[in-house]
């Protein structure tokens, strides 16, 4: 029993060590702007195309539900225009970043792990190295940089869509007028709500891409190994998103 705990903690420490080495190599790869500069654009476009439909779909329905649940919770005891406050704040601070992050962990993270995993097991990564390319600056840095910058953009769209559907729902189903909704939206609005949400999104994007790359590049064992890596990437990044979410709440709110 103690032995097994010991073995597990050693392998956990090794894991952390490997991530440390990976980050160091990635920082080295970051210097080779000539290589990754062009590739970032390609990755940003891919992340955008892959994610926007899913992200906006989720945001649209979240906005509807938030508005309805807010009015249900208020039961007339709280003025109805607070629906605007709740929809706005919740989308910006929490549900915009987190729901998008979780959905994109399954999309962007999984596809990075699968792609790099396939490249690894078919020796394309080795081939890159023998052609004197650094896989870090050619494969990892473009993905991590692109995700870090694209996620806040995607989340910003999600937040906007969520607020719009929340507003439309209020108009159609809650007998709340547009000026009242906007009054509620503005009521406790702080600029911090926006940057907090977007900063969180950037950290989620960074994490999802990093996990996808680390897991993908450590793939072993053919097609089956690629499948395993894909699942692992999704699970790890989903967990890390929730942990990071709590971390930011503790540190910044």
């Amino acid at each position: 029993m103690i032995e097994s705990i010991g073995r597990r903690s050693i392998s956990a420490i090794e894991e952390v060590g490997r991530v440390g080495y990976f980050l160091r190599d990635m920082a080295r790869g970051l210097r080779d702007v000539g290589t990754w500069g062009r590739l970032v654009i390609v990755q940003m476009r891919r992340i955008g195309v892959d994610s926007l439909p899913v992200a906006l779909f989720i945001a649209a329905f979240t906005g509807v539900v938030l508005a309805l649940q807010a009015s249900y919770t208020f039961t007339g005891a709280v003025p109805l225009y607070f629906v605007g406050t709740l929809v706005g704040k919740t989308m910006m601070l929490e549900l915009g970043p987190v729901l998008t992050g979780l959905a994109l962990a399954g999309r962007v993270g999984a596809s990075m792990a699968a792609e790099l995993g396939t490249m690894k097991v078919t020796e394309q990564v080795d081939a890159l190295e023998t052609l004197a390319y650094d896989p870090q600056s050619y494969l990892v840095v473009p993905r991590v940089v692109a995700a870090t910058f694209m996620f806040p953009v995607i989340v910003a769209f999600s937040i906007a869509v969520g607020i719009v559907t929340g507003w439309l729902t209020s108009l159609a189903l809650l007998a709340l007028s547009t000026p009242d909704f906007i009054k509620g939206l503005k009521l406790f609005y702080l600029f911090k709500d926006v940057w907090f949400g977007l900063l969180k999104s950037a950290s989620f994007g960074f994490t999802i891409a990093l996990v996808g790359c680390i897991v993908g590049l450590s793939t072993r064992g053919g097609a089956e190994g690629v499948g395993r890596s894909t699942t692992r990437a999704v699970v790890y990044s989903a967990i890390l998103i929730l942990v990071l979410d709590a971390f930011w709440a503790v540190v910044l709110l």
């Binding site: 020796e123 394309q124 081939a127 023998t130 052609l131 004197a132």
Partner: protein, 241 residues
């Protein structure tokens, strides 16, 4: 010259190379034969520093590969063309871009790159496939693109990892002829890993058998065909017992 000096490599508890020593002379083609999983690819990967030895060293042109700093390692890698077992072409790049990738890294001008790509593709009889993608090619064609990618760099050494495995006999013969032609054209030193004896006899000057982590026998093609060593005999004759 490429020289393996008493190389040891294990993955966890699995010991793969245990005192592997072999010299590849300039100008020759050395064939390394051995059972699947005996560590042939592992040995090959040490030459270009894709794997680090646990002990021992690989010396390329007088330099110990595992001790090189990144810049030195890049220089060694630039003198070596590596043909991977399943070609390891980049799926997202066209044939021409695959062949050009290593050249772009060396910052040659585009005209020179284009000329070299065409020359390399012509040498492997694939002129006119520039714009195709790897997924549209047959296994044999992919291997030939892999060879073109290696020779476009005009390397001093070419390493082939199982160049004919998984190909039909005729396509294998085509690849064998290509390897011979490449050597005649470019005067490269070759290391060929294979378990296809027909191919070994066609392209090799000398043959080394890797067995239980070490070189069991290394000798010329004629000598190895006359060998008394039962282990080597069994392998080259392909007998079950």
């Amino acid at each position: 010259m490429i020289e393996f000096q008493d190389l040891y490599k294990a993955f966890g508890a699995k010991r793969v190379l245990e005192g592997f020593s072999l010299q590849v002379r300039d100008g020759e083609t050395m064939v390394i034969i051995g059972y699947s999983g005996s560590g042939k690819s592992v040995a090959l990967k040490h030459i270009v520093g894709l794997l680090h030895p646990d002990a021992g060293e690989v010396i390329v042109d007088g330099q110990a590969v595992s001790t090189l700093a990144p810049v030195g390692l890049t220089l060694v890698r630039e003198s070596i063309g590596y043909v991977f077992q399943f070609a390891a072409l980049f799926d997202s790049l066209s044939v021409a871009d695959n062949v050009a990738l290593g050249l772009r890294r060396r910052r040659l001008d585009e005209e020179e790159i284009e000329a070299r790509v065409h020359e390399a593709l012509a040498l492997v009889d694939l002129s006119g496939t520039d714009e195709r993608f790897p997924a549209e090619l047959s296994g044999g064609m992919r291997k030939r693109v892999g060879i073109a990618r290696a020779i476009a760099l005009r390397p001093r050494y070419i390493l082939y990892d199982e160049p004919t495995t998984g190909l039909d006999p005729v396509t294998s013969a085509v690849i064998d002829r290509l390897m011979v032609r490449t050597r005649e054209h470019l005067g490269v030193t070759g290391v060929v890993v294979t378990h296809d004896m027909r191919s070994a006899y066609t392209v090799g000057d000398r043959i080394a058998m890797l067995y239980e982590g070490k070189v069991r026998q290394v000798s010329t093609v004629e000598e190895i065909q006359q060998t008394d060593d039962p282990v080597v005999r069994q392998f080259i004759e392909g007998r079950a017992e």
